[in-house]
């Protein structure tokens, strides 16, 4: 599975464009699919389901201790409370980063990812470099994301080998005391919920105003 995007694939003449178009025409002619249903699936993943959903979960957990306890105990139910359930989020587990533990999520076998809270995974998450090395050399992988963890910090890697999907609850950044959940959510990046990043710093990210 190579990661390079051959941009010729995007041209009208590319073989994949032609093959996919031919297949859709065929499936539609046979009455197996409705093209408007396909449109809606694409639109949903492009515009409605994404890491902003997960950020709301994390921000709520940062501001509401009772919610955080529910989230860490039964993430599926706690996430459903906020309205984010569905395909590939049927069985959720939330894992919390602390001063002593950093969590990192991978799927070494394919590309399992908590879709309702994070949307579709980025290319790097599905790529061979990440899938091969996240379990063997996670510190090396994190360095490539610009993240160097204290040497004594425990790294827990979660390989998504079943239908359990993992959401990392990053540590709340310092300097955000008293922030409402809505504002905190702007600091919660996709990568911080996978474990390849931290939540944004309110000063350096320019979100402090």
């Amino acid at each position: 599975m190579h990661d390079d995007h051959d941009h010729s694939q995007g041209s009208e003449m590319s073989p994949m464009v032609a093959r996919v178009r031919a297949l859709e025409t065929l499936l539609t002619d046979k009455g197996y699919v409705e093209p408007s249903a396909l449109d809606l699936i694409v639109e949903t993943y492009e515009t409605k389901i994404g890491p902003r959903n997960g950020a709301q979960i994390v921000a709520r957990a940062w501001t509401d201790t009772a919610y955080k306890i529910r989230l860490l105990k039964d993430a599926t139910a706690a996430i459903t409370e906020l309205g984010f359930s569905g395909v590939q989020g049927e069985h959720m587990v939330a894992v919390e980063n602390t001063d002593t533990v950093h969590n990192l999520v991978v799927c070494t076998l394919c590309s399992c990812y908590p879709l309702p809270v994070l949307g579709l995974p980025p290319v790097w998450y599905k790529s061979a470099p990440y899938r091969s090395r996240a379990v063997l050399d996670p510190r090396g992988v994190l360095t490539e994301f610009g993240l160097t963890l204290p040497v004594a910090k425990e790294i827990r890697v979660w390989d998504s080998t079943a239908e359990i999907r993992y959401l990392v609850v990053p540590q709340r950044p310092a300097g955000t005391e008293g922030w409402p959940a809505e504002k905190l959510a702007t600091l919660v990046t996709r990568d911080s919920m996978i474990g390849t990043g931290l939540a944004l710093d309110p000063i350096t990210s320019g979100n402090s105003s």
Binding site: M1, H2, H5, Q9, G10, M16, V17, R19, V20, A22, L23, E24, L26, L27, D29, K30, Y32, V33, E34, S36, A37, D39, I41, V42, T44, Y45, E46, G86, Q88, H91, T108, L109, C110, S111, G119, L120, P122, V123, K126, S127, A128, Y130, R131, S132, V135, L136, P138, E144, V151, E154, I155, R156, V157, D159, S160, T161, A162, E163, I164, D191
Partner: protein, 220 residues
Amino acid sequence: MNGAHDMGGVMGFGPVVAEKNEPVFHFEWEGRVRAMTMAMGGPMGSNIDQGRFAREDRSPSDYLSKTYYELWFAGLVRMLLDRGLVMAEELTAGRSMHPAKPIPRTLRTEDVSSVLAKGRPYGRTIQQPARFKPGDRVRARNMHPAGHTRLPRYVRGRIGTVTHAHGAHVFPDSNAAGLGEAPQWLYNVRFMGRELWGEAADPTLTVSVDAWESYLEPIL
């Protein structure tokens, strides 16, 4: 199967390169492939494990030379051909040349949102009590099935600790083969980095997998 998809611990793929402001789909056709694969689950009467196996069951050179959505396309085409829902000459022609086969159901546009929001839970109730409990030490079996399995090679034969029992879940090895859901207890099992990768491994590393009961044997 011991395929190229089972990547944990493999070396030589180079650094992880993240793209800034990455689009959800890089090309329109990728979105169509994703959507067709989802929409055809019902008509094909297929399950998620059959879908995964259709993508991974190929030579390493084939698997590694395809982009992610090229693999999805190849997997979808294989499942359609296997079920006789389309014929090879129709794929080439890009039009229907044979009558459609009867299918269980189609995904209608008005149902897309509810289907996506509802999901498809894989937990099942079984009578059999759990063989393991949190804290138990277990060994991941040294097994090499030719069909679909979700026990990665890098944990096989290694000793870990059960951290959690998730309940009974559909068993992929059986489900992918069309032999039924055959639900089993599913556990989270945590391995020390040094158990997996040897003395030189990071002492602060643990790696956990979710493993079905038949993937595990007790350490007495």
